[in-house]
Symmetry: C2
Amino acid sequence: MESSANEFLRGTLKTIILKLLTEQRPASDELSGVSFTRQGRMYGYEITQAVKERTKGEITLSFGALYPVLHKLEQEGLLTTETEEVEGRLRKYYTLTPQGTQVAVQKVSDFERFMDTMRHLLQLPVNLATGH
Amino acid sequence: MESSANEFLRGTLKTIILKLLTEQRPASDELSGVSFTRQGRMYGYEITQAVKERTKGEITLSFGALYPVLHKLEQEGLLTTETEEVEGRLRKYYTLTPQGTQVAVQKVSDFERFMDTMRHLLQLPVNLATGH
DNA sequence: ATTTATATATAAGATTACGATATATATAAT
DNA sequence: ATTATATATATCGTAATCTTATATATAAAT
């Protein structure tokens, strides 16, 4: 049985992945040791965990769904990859290209608009109670 | 090129159709001429027009998408049909079964929850400005 | 006459997401 | 020693879903 959240996930995966990658994340210069923030760089497993944590387990991004999307985004020129060895294992980091950043912003905005349209279509109230 | 609204439509079609059918609509007793309201009864073409009008053309439900869903919902016992001749043409009306009404309510509620989750995941503000 | 609007429906094809599976290392518990 | 858990990438087959194109037909409008 498909979870009720994942039923609606169809079509939003790209948007979720691109948005997560736009976020500023802590980093450090390995030579100088100086800490700073920079635009995201995430590896596959990390993305699935981030989605799980933020949605308190409501949305589960399976690997079978994730990797095909990552590969497609890379193919489309929205992501680049760098593979690094971390603790004996290879880890593949994904980073947004400038075009990827642009598409990410566009897609999030499109999704907001879609939610408004759906709220109207389904005659749903604007949600004040659960404001974050 | 796929419209940005329709990109996110996947997974929401059943919910939209079921919800529209839950709505009270004007009707009349053909014998007595008395007007009243009753739970929806819509035909396919009417559904596509209702979606188009309410979303100001942002969401377009194609027939190729609509009919398979209607047939499936009927098969699943959520809808029943009655065919009538109107102005020389056959028209097929779809009505919710009691189970269909139940599923409709559940799906709309699931979708609201999904939107909340997505708003959180994408760090979107609660939308006050466009409240309907 | 022809186009537009109304109306139902199927077929072909592409896309998408999921479950299962394979591979591999590291660590913690039994 | 073995088992389990967590981390990590990736493919394959399948099922479901959606898009586009097509067929059919009537009525009204131009």
